[in-house]
């Protein structure tokens, strides 16, 4: 159906998924952002929500409950759902469930990050759908995987940061573990990066073999995979079983920390080796504890001067940038942000192809914005059938209770 209003290759030189249809049950970042990245690569992504179960990002922002159509104005939703079609189908109503099953049967890929068991209850699980469409690729991005004693457990990204081992390695000197919190939810971000790559790998296999796949991706496992060297070390070295947290220090570096400048800004500095030590001492002076000397020197210099002087001396130094400077200093954004003509910003991608900027062909959809279009053009439903679904409340485009 690909009805993108822009020519396919305009603004994106790589569209290997141009003939792929994705049914997107993805919620929040881990699921929804995976589908967005597939859309960036040319896939037709149909995002499924309903009046009784919207993407939670629609109701997490400060717009919640404020004015007509508030559920269509969430910045977080806008960032993670560009280039998608939006369909509202309520699977709690039998007719809605049947239509959803028909729609999934037409898909090449399904992306979902529901709690385990939800899709089984709706007859939309991999086994049921693969029976109708053996080529289907099911990317199940879950908390702890499809199997095992914790398969039904509930979590957020921060839960998995603790259980996956990253939190144990993060924290102030000798102090308690630290998690990235709700404004980062680190495991959710990396899950979408990994899942996208794995789905493309499965599509390549399916194109050759005609066989689909169930990709069982555990976010907790991914989080642990990202500290694999520490798991390896702990497996053969009992002394690493209980590592003290060491703030910003790195065993491989002579000194690494943040220092407060005279204007109240933080500076990040890495001193890697003895040459760096000499260069740094030539600037900050003194023979004693290098970290202490750097702290004293930074306290009487503004951030911009510190960065200029230490950088020119050949050291790895940078200001700690906050969200405001991420927007203000556009030269750093590269491929990662896209400024719309309206002035709004959406998320780009973490890689570039031949310097081409990501083109946003569609803004994130309003709830159910493309329901009629998809029912008609993908499933071939006629007007009376579409009207009947509306009368049954299957295709409502205003939230019922969120």
């Amino acid at each position: 159906m690909n009805k993108n209003p822009e020519p396919l290759r305009n603004g994106c030189t790589v569209r290997p998924l141009a003939n792929i249809r994705v049914v997107d049950f993805g919620q929040l970042t881990a699921g929804a952002n995976t589908s967005a990245m597939l859309a960036d690569l040319g896939a037709e992504v149909i995002k499924i929500e309903s009046a009784s179960f919207m993407d939670l990002f629609r109701s997490m922002g400060s717009n919640r409950g404020r004015g007509p159509g508030w559920w269509n104005r969430s910045p977080q939703f806008r960032f993670t759902n560009r280039n998608k079609l939006g369909v509202s189908l309520d699977a709690k109503i039998p007719e809605g469930r049947r239509i959803l099953q028909d729609l999934v049967a037409t898909a090449d890929v399904v992306v979902e990050n529901f709690r385990r068991g939800v899709l089984e209850r709706l007859g939309l699980d991999y086994a049921s759908m693969a029976a109708r469409n053996p080529r289907i690729i099911f990317a199940s991005i879950s908390s702890q995987g499809e199997t095992g004693p914790y398969r039904l457990h509930t979590s957020f990204g921060s839960t998995l940061e603790a259980m996956g081992g990253v939190a144990a390695l993060t924290g102030y000197d000798g102090d308690k573990p630290v998690i990235s919190g709700p404004h980062v939810n680190y495991p959710d971000q990396v899950a979408s990066l990994f899942a996208t790559g794995m789905i493309i790998a499965a599509i390549r296999v399916a194109r050759r073999s005609g066989k689909g796949a169930l990709l069982d991706i555990s976010q907790r496992e991914l989080t642990s995979f990202l500290i694999g060297e520490e798991i390896l070390a702990a497996s053969v070295d009992v002394e690493r079983a209980e590592l003290p947290r060491r703030a910003n220090a790195d065993e491989a570096m002579v000194l690494q920390d943040c220092f407060l400048a005279s204007d109240g800004r933080w500076i990040a500095l890495t001193i890697e080796n003895s040459i760096d030590v000499e260069r740094c001492r030539a600037i900050v002076g003194g023979d004693g504890d290098l970290g202490g000397r750097v702290a004293v020197w930074c306290a009487v210099h503004p951030a911009s001067e510190i960065v200029d002087v230490l950088r020119d001396a050949g050291l790895a130094v940078a200001p700690v940038r906050d969200g405001a400077s991420l927007i203000r200093e556009r030269q750093f954004a590269g491929q990662t942000l896209v400024w719309r003509e309206s002035g709004e910003i959406v998320k780009g991608r973490p890689y570039g192809f031949d310097g081409a900027q990501l083109k946003i062909n569609r803004d994130a959809p309003d709830l159910g914005q493309h329901t009629r279009e998809v029912l008609c053009e993908v499933l071939g439903l006629d007007e009376p059938a579409i009207q009947r679904l509306a009368e049954l409340g299957v295709t409502r485009s205003e939230p019922i209770e969120q």
Binding site: F156, V166, L193, G197, R220, D237, A241, G323
Partner: protein
Amino acid sequence: MLEVGNAQAPICIRLATSFAGKIASELGAKVVKLEPFSGDPVRQLPPILPSGPKADRSALFKFLNAGKTMLSMPSDAAEARRALETLLDARVDGVLFEEDDQLRTFLAECPLAQVEVVGWPAGMATGARLSEFTALALGGLLDMIGDPDRKPLRLGGHQASYSAGLSVFTALMALLAERDAGRHPPPARVSLIETVMWVNWKAIAGIDDVGKPPSRQGDQSEFQVVRCLDGWIAVVFSVTEFEKLRNLVNSPDLHQQKFATREGRLKHIRELYQRLEPWFATRTRAEVYDEAQRRGVPLGPVCSPADLANDPQNLARGFIVPLRDASIKGARVPRLPVLWNSHI
């Protein structure tokens, strides 16, 4: 796959390239790692294992490179280039390389999937030194971790490099799929700073939402880490789960009106946690986790790397497996975090 190291590139870039190559290798690709003549400096980096050949004890190097074919490049640049050409004449589908103008030019006409891993966004001064830590600072992620009145913190491990490695892997898959379609794929480029920014997108969306950067909230955050009998628990809950958390802890104090709304809880967050902490302090991680899950509260016990090997879920899923390198007896690592049709 060829993984071409550049002796001049910062270590943080090498870790990203190596991580992407590791994923490809675990998926079944034959990955040939070309080390500079001087050897990959990652071989010397911690964690250092307590036994094994003296020059070969880096757990970091072992984790990233077990299962790859290692080739040392000649010290002479012309010889090294000839060796690379010979390798490219063999059946190669893709190349990962690191900040290398000459190699980029050399590869320009090769119909391979090629991903260049760099530090800085395109068009920015590449002469400036970069570390993984300063990439976290420039991408804004440092600003998000820690307490608001204390210094910014890095996430443990090599998260800037490894998240960039995941970007490299995904870009590589996209290029290979493009190549499958009979097209000559353009080169891809992954920057550490850009990847950190991309991971940290909520810092930007948060400004759109409430008009100011969210920055680190630490002890002012809804989600905090509290002490229990045998370690720590991450307290995590959404608006809809607060009532379940309140029932779990079962303290009359939590029914006070000031805790009834999210706004109220945020305003009195310190007081809220003072009322929550005693319940956790008398229970083990396992007791808290079991009871919380029974009630649908997504609390997370803090597991150390050593804990993960004996975790019931990891054991059931065969997640911790022997290292693909017999030189270290008993060494175990996490497998690739995906089961493909139930298989590893």
